[in-house]
Amino acid sequence: MQDLKEVQRRIYPPMVEGDHTLATVTDKISDVPLKKKTPFHWFIGFGIAFMIAQMLMMTIIWLLAKGIGIWGTNQPVGWAFPIINFVWWIGIGHAGTLISAILLLLNQKWRTSINRFAEAMTLFAVACAGLYPVFHTGRPWLAYWLFPYPNTMSIWPQFRSPLVWDVFAVSTYATVSLLFWYVGLIPDLATLRDRAKNKYFKFVYAIFSWGWRGSARHWHRFELAYLILAGISTPLVLSVHSIVSLDFSVSQIPGWHATFFPPYFVGGAIYAGFAMVLILCIPLRHLYNMKDFITHTHLVYMGKVMMATGFIVGYSYLFEAFFGWYSASQYEWFMIKSRIWTGPYWYMYWLLLLCNVSAIQLLWFKRFRNSEVWLFIVSIFVSIGMWLERFVIIVGSIHHDFLPSSWGMYSPTVFDISMFVGTLGFFFTLIYLFVRFLPMISIFEVRTLLPEANVHGHQEDFEENVVEIEYTYDRTDPPNA
């Protein structure tokens, strides 16, 4: 039976390490917002992030006062940092919903300990992303004209424009993600309400937990709602970035006008999203000592997903270049040549390949895959690489388009950079607030992973599988040979 345990660990690694009971799980997670003294590193991190977020605010104030000319955007490069950053953030925002919804539907247990903050990350990334389309317009105070609201002039948005599709796609995604996250939070909010000593906290948690009492009927409805929301979210994961990619596909600029953009962008988005989840959870599990819940196994799994999506992205790069040649269009082929070696931004392309294609090759090797440090480094590379990818696509295509007389160059100004860094600050500010005031890991779901929660049902699944494994085991070498 000892061998069997070993096999079980290998085939179905436990999603919760250590000797946890239902009570200790609840204590450990709920203590962070409720009981523990706010750790010093939180103040440091939050302080820095908050200051950087102020930079975002100052940039926006200056932007509204002066106009978007404070950025480096120009003619012909009408879209630059703001749209790059928008697509980048939206891409990052994909992992949360993917983890929550698709993995839920696919019954992947390991999603449980990371879904909460992955969803939070999604929300915050979408919030950061949402700033850009509004503020990148020349007259942001009129950006609401993109919404189909009834007005006295009876003017509707133009539904042929992908930007209008974007409005719907992103706002739907943001709404559903928020609901999904919030619905998932309700049982935990109730737990916090019950355990909170501070009456103000108790009051606020009470308000937001909607009188959750944990009755069987509550649980029944909760499960149903959660499943439905997961069902709604699943196509959204695919649709949002597909539609974002149509902003480019629908136009006719060489380098934008490509039919395979939707899957390419979705693959890239999941890639970037997992990288960001890794970037966040590797420090978090250390700082808050959550290694029992966010286990080594989780990291390895995420690394594998990242690798898989990385290959989708790499494949796309290959075929982008191939189509440029195969199209026999001189503009397309020129664009590819310019992107790869003759153009002024060729180095961006090679950096992109280094980050997005070369770096993940490390994950073939167990040594790197099992190393938190290497995973973290690779994730950083991937995040940068995905930003570069958008730069290459957006600026790299449009700066040299049809008429050479109108070619131009783009270089960011200090405000482009402060806006981007500012959104990073804003993002981390929200993340810090989240870990301080809300359970960063889903308490009730993690509890379902414990053996106590599996007195019936799930254990049987396991045993069926084990029989299968044993069957295989009989015929092959011992697993630990």
Binding site: G67, G69, Q75, P76, P157, V164, D401, L403, M409
Partner: protein, 1092 residues
């Protein structure tokens, strides 16, 4: 309350003053009194050394003082206001319909050449300048300078008052002072009085000076301006023994040889018009003229040449001699020439067109070249055919301007000059360095008066500065290139307390000194026999000829007659032509028409000799270095007088698209040899792999090395940024005048380097020198950074002979995949309405930029400044693309020019992507832009393959300066920040034409709706109209087989199309380029037309 001491001192001083009757004029009371007590009094007056108060301030005194102060405060409001008539219109002037513009004929003079203009007046404000179709120097077109002159009038930096040593004064102050001084000088017949003017051809002003010389025989009048006809005059004297003025008839010339003459940059656009008449290609007339250019720097004329030869400036006389020898000019020898094959083939061609060819020398060429050109024209039998000689239009022409300046400087140095009156011009800035009217020299003149539109470098050094009237504010007259006189009338009361040359010169007369310019000009023409001149049939269209110009000059110009523009729609009133009877009628007619018929001088018969060839060559200036340096006027701001004009500053230079700056042009090989702009790799210089063309820079980082330029021993003070220019001869640097102004205004001050630092009277246009890198770099704002078509089928230029012989050439195949969106549904709408379209004839276009400025003026387009141009955010709705061709970077073809404006696509890519319906299609096929609705996503601009949309990244419009509010076209929205804008085919002009047509219940006729770019074009390259009207010019050009769509393969169905350029090459020339094989399809691999 001053102290007792003060009171006593003051009483003493007052006595002293009253007892004085010393100097009549003084600058200050101190100077007048000149007493030590007074000086002490003055110094003690100030609080720092104030005397102690010796009485305490009592309540009673306090109340008294307060009361007095209040009363005095009220007094200051008692200044006499000028009388104003407040009678409203009971019966309005029938010509003045509010909201409807009127046109008045006027004219602008530059370098002594007047171009007739029609100024568009909107409620009494001139808002646009058009050419006067009746005027020979305009023929309905203008150049950039005339277009942009409107901005000069409204320039808030213009001088606004009479000043004495920069203290505000009034005109009466000045009159009193000046007349006193003049009276003093009458003793010796005004021997100390000197006038310095620019080139004057105004008959009235010439007459004034003539009369003045009778009254003050000792007074002298000198003419000098930096760009003048000295060499032409000297050349004429060499050839004919007397100065003559040369008039060319390009409309009769089939073969043109330019010896460094930049015909297409001429202020006198009549020449470009004439030239283009011979250049027009049609199925009926397949023979077009041929242009040979020999030049020593790059120019748009050279770019358009069928055959271009570049030589060093020093070689030019030898080349000219060799050509003359080949043409059979007696005495000319062909010695030591490397270009014999080129010259002989060209000469043979010219000889075949005797009497139908013309040789034109450039004004920068030496007198010998001019004289040789006269001899060549004589040998070719062109005299009387394509070349006409008359007497010089400007008086004292037997004396070169530089000599006139030299005399003036000598007189100043000798202390002979008591009063120096500088009328227009900026001699302190633009005189040659060896004859500089600098501070030291001017201080030798006891009284200096400057009349000018700007308080500039010269105004600063003069005692009195009189703010000059802009030509749109003043009455004057002038002569066109062929001598035709015209009256210039004002469009508006002077905005400031300004005066013009006529009024200033009039002050020197004993009698009638305070006449207004209107009386002076009219008075002069009263002495002329206008009856005889008007006997000739006027070419003017039938127009309302009402109370023209009878109004006093101060009256509103609204009282003058309206004049229809080139577009009859703007003033369709028709009245029976008035038969002139008396002077008043004649006067009204000539003011109205803007042309005085038959006023051109009669042709003069002169015969050229070649005796000058035997003379020893003029001594060359000392050798200053191993490079030859050419000094040219700036293509946009001319000699510097337009340097405060933002439109011109931001106008891309035709060949290299540089704005806001002057650079030094250098050939690629010389740059490599000198290590200038070196860090750029060959590929970056070449800018692509489809044959060589040119970018000066890597991508958009427009960096240039700063070098010190030494010319004839003197050094340009500021560093000169180098700009690698294909086609520039090796070892020749071209520098440009007009920059380095120290007192131009807030726009022009401090930009660029000043080439006048080194210009010498013995080397005005070229000389020798050297350059040395300073190690510094600068960023140049250029609107185009890539000059290579990359093998794309964008700008078509066909070889004429091949094109004439191959009927299939140029056909554009339109096949597109089936679309889900049916194209025909729009066609049904278009079929019911006007279908506006435009063609741009690339064969005619010479890249002169006039359309760009016309568009800017018509459509209230903002100037963005150098930094924003550097960020490529210029706002021009129209641009002229330039592409080089050929494989040799040192000797490329072109650049060829392609004006690009909104193509008004029927399948517009911009429209489908706008999320808010801000850009939509009109039923007449225009791609309309709704500024109000635009939120500024810039998606439309991204998706526009022609990149003709412009975005207001910042608040580029000046919304505060009151002058600019007056200047703007009220029919065009002034766009705000955050809004996209673009060419609308001048939709306001179309609307005006449509309204006129609807009043008559008919369709708009061809030629009624005229876009701003079309109306200004000196070559008629832009044709606009209704494509439904089969008889319209535009419909005909659309069926021309040169017609093609730009980026046709994108299926945008543009309404703007292009007529391919043609190159009329001579097969016998050594530089003949055989056309590449074609298969009639687009694309590099399938054989594209040769990029010129």
């Amino acid at each position: 309350m001053p102290s007792k001491d003060s009171k006593q001192n003051f009483a003493a001083l007052r006595d002293k003053i009253l007892s004085q009757n010393g100097k009549e004029y003084w600058r200050s009371v101190e100077e007048f009194v000149d007493a030590p007590e007074f000086k002490e009094f003055v110094t003690r007056e100030y609080p720092a050394q104030a005397e102690e108060w010796d009485s305490s301030l009592s309540r009673r005194n306090f109340v008294k003082v307060m009361g007095a102060s209040l009363a005095l405060a009220g007094l200051s409001g008692c200044v006499m206001q000028p009388p104003e008539k407040i009678v409203p219109y009971v019966h309005a002037d029938p010509d003045l319909i509010p909201g409807k513009p009127l046109y008045f004929a006027t004219g602008m003079t530059l370098g002594g050449v007047t171009t007739g203009l029609l100024a568009k007046s909107y409620d009494g404000r001139p808002i646009k300048v058009e050419g006067n179709p009746d005027h020979p120097g305009s023929q309905g077109a203008t150049d950039v300078l005339a277009q942009a002159s409107l901005l000069n009038m409204y320039d808030p930096d213009r001088s606004q008052e009479v000043t004495y040593r920069s203290t505000p004064k009034t005109w009466p102050n000045f009159v009193t002072e000046l007349r006193g001084k003049v009276n003093e000088n009458r003793v010796d017949n005004g021997a100390g009085i000197r006038f310095l003017t620019e080139t004057i051809t105004s008959p009235t002003l010439i007459d004034q000076f003539k009369q003045l010389s009778a009254e003050l025989p000792g007074a002298r009048w000198h003419q000098y301006e930096p760009i003048n006809n000295d060499n032409a005059i000297a050349g004429a004297k060499l050839a004919f023994g007397s100065p003559v003025h040369t008039i060319y008839k390009f409309d009769k010339a089939d073969r043109v040889l330019s010896l460094d003459a930049d015909i297409f940059s001429d202020f006198n656009v009549g020449y470009i018009k004439d030239y283009s008449k011979k250049r027009q290609w049609s199925e009926e007339n397949k023979d077009i003229n041929r242009l040979y250019v020999v030049e020593s720097s790059v120019s748009i004329t050279g770019s358009k040449a069928d055959h271009r030869l570049t030589v060093k400036p020093s070689e030019m006389p030898e080349i000219a001699k060799a050509i003359a020898a080949a043409l059979g000019v007696g005495g000319a020898t062909q010695a030591n020439n490397n270009n014999a094959a080129w010259i002989n083939a060209m000469a043979k061609d010219l000889m075949a067109f005797k009497g139908r060819s013309v040789v034109v020398p450039g004004r920068g060429q030496s007198p010998v070249v001019h004289a040789l050109a006269h001899a060549m024209n004589a040998a070719l039998g062109n005299v009387g055919q394509t070349v006409v000689y008359t007497d010089p239009l400007s008086p004292n022409s037997d004396k070169l301007q530089i000599d006139q300046l030299r005399e003036l400087v000598a007189d100043i140095d000798a202390g002979k000059v008591k009063i120096l009156v500088i009328i227009d011009g900026n001699p302190v800035y633009n005189t040659p360095v060896d004859l500089k009217l600098n501070e030291e020299r001017l201080n030798k003149v006891p009284l200096r008066v400057h009349l000018g539109e700007y308080y500039d470098e010269t105004g600063e050094l003069c005692h009195w500065h009189i703010s000059g009237k802009h030509y749109l504010e003043s009455w004057s007259d002038g002569r066109a290139y062929d001598g035709t006189a015209s009256i210039k009338q004002p469009l508006i009361n002077p905005l400031y307390d300004s005066h013009n040359a006529h009024e200033l010169v009039q002050l020197f007369f004993k009698e009638n000194y305070d006449k207004k310019d209107y009386d002076i000009v009219k008075g002069y023409w009263q002495t002329q026999n206008l009856n005889s001149v008007s006997a000739a049939p006027a070419a003017a269209p039938e127009t309302a000829k009402t109370a023209a110009a009878t109004a006093a000059p101060s009256a509103s110009p609204a009282a003058s007659a309206p004049k229809p523009s080139a577009s009859p729609a703007a003033g369709a009133t028709t009245a029976a032509p008035v038969v002139p009877k008396n002077f008043e009628d004649n006067w009204r007619k000539v003011v109205h028409d803007g042309v005085i018929p038959n006023s051109a001088p009669q042709p003069k018969t002169v015969s050229a000799t070649t005796a000058f060839l035997g003379q020893p060559p003029a001594p060359a200036p000392a050798n200053g270095g191993d490079l030859e340096i050419i000094i040219q006027t700036d293509p946009c701001i001319y000699d510097g007088r337009f340097s405060n004009n933002g439109w011109l500053q931001e106008l891309p230079r035709p060949l290299n698209k540089i704005t806001w700056e002057n650079v030094g042009l250098i050939s690629p090989k010389t740059a490599a040899r000198l290590g200038v702009n070196r860090s750029y790799k060959e590929r970056e210089l070449g800018g692509g792999d489809e044959g060589y063309a040119f970018i000066n820079t890597k991508g958009g980082n427009k960096f240039s090395d700063l070098v010190t330029v030494t010319y004839q021993g003197a050094q340009i003070q500021k560093g000169v940024p180098m700009w690698i220019t294909p086609g520039q001869p090796d070892d020749v640097i071209t520098v440009f005048l007009g920059y380095g102004r120290t007192k131009a205004g807030r726009v022009g001050t401090g930009l660029g380097y000043n080439a006048y630092d080194v210009r010498r009277s013995d080397a005005m246009y070229n000389g020798t020198g050297s350059v040395a890198p300073t190690g510094e770099r600068t960023e140049i704002a250029s609107t185009q950074i890539h000059f290579n078509m990359e093998g794309r089928d964008l700008l078509r230029v066909w070889d004429l002979e091949e094109f004439n012989n191959n009927e299939k050439l140029g056909e554009q195949e339109d096949f597109y995949p089936e679309s889900m969106f049916p194209y025909e549904q729009h066609q049904e709408t278009y079929a019911k309405n006007h279908k506006w379209g435009m063609t741009v004839d690339l064969n005619s276009c010479v890249g002169c930029n006039a359309c760009v400025i016309a568009c800017q003026s018509e459509n209230n387009i903002a100037v963005v400044g150098k930094e924003q141009v550097n960020r490529s955010r210029e706002m021009h709705w129209m641009r002229i693309d330039a592409y080089y061709g050929g494989d040799d970077l040192s000797n490329p073809t072109g650049p060829a020019f392609q004006p690009v404006l909104c193509q008004q696509c029927e399948q517009a890519p911009c429209e489908v992507v706008c999320p808010v319906h801000a850009t939509v299609h009109s039923a007449e096929g225009l791609n309309d832009m709704t500024y109000n609705r635009c939120v500024g996503t810039r998606y439309c601009s991204n998706n526009c393959p022609y990149k003709v949309r412009r975005f207001n990244f910042l608040l580029f419009q000046d919304w505060d300066t009151p002058q600019f509010k007056l200047m703007r076209n009220p029919e065009v929205t002034v766009r705000s920040r955050g809004v996209m804008e673009k060419c609308t085919y001048c939709t306001q002009r179309i609307a005006a034409a449509r309204i006129e047509a609807e009043k008559d219940g008919r369709a708009v006729r061809d030629g009624e709706a005229v876009t701003a770019c079309q109306s200004v074009c000196p070559t008629d390259a832009i044709i606009f109209g209704d494509m439904h009207d089969k008889e319209s010019k535009v419909a005909k050009t659309k069926s021309d087989r040169r017609n093609y769509n730009l980026l046709n393969e994108l299926n945008t169905q543009p309404r703007t199309t292009y007529l391919a350029g043609l190159k009329n090459q001579n097969k016998e020339m050594p530089d003949f380029r055989a056309p590449k094989p074609h298969s009639g399809m687009m694309g590099a691999e399938r054989g594209e037309p040769e990029a010129e």
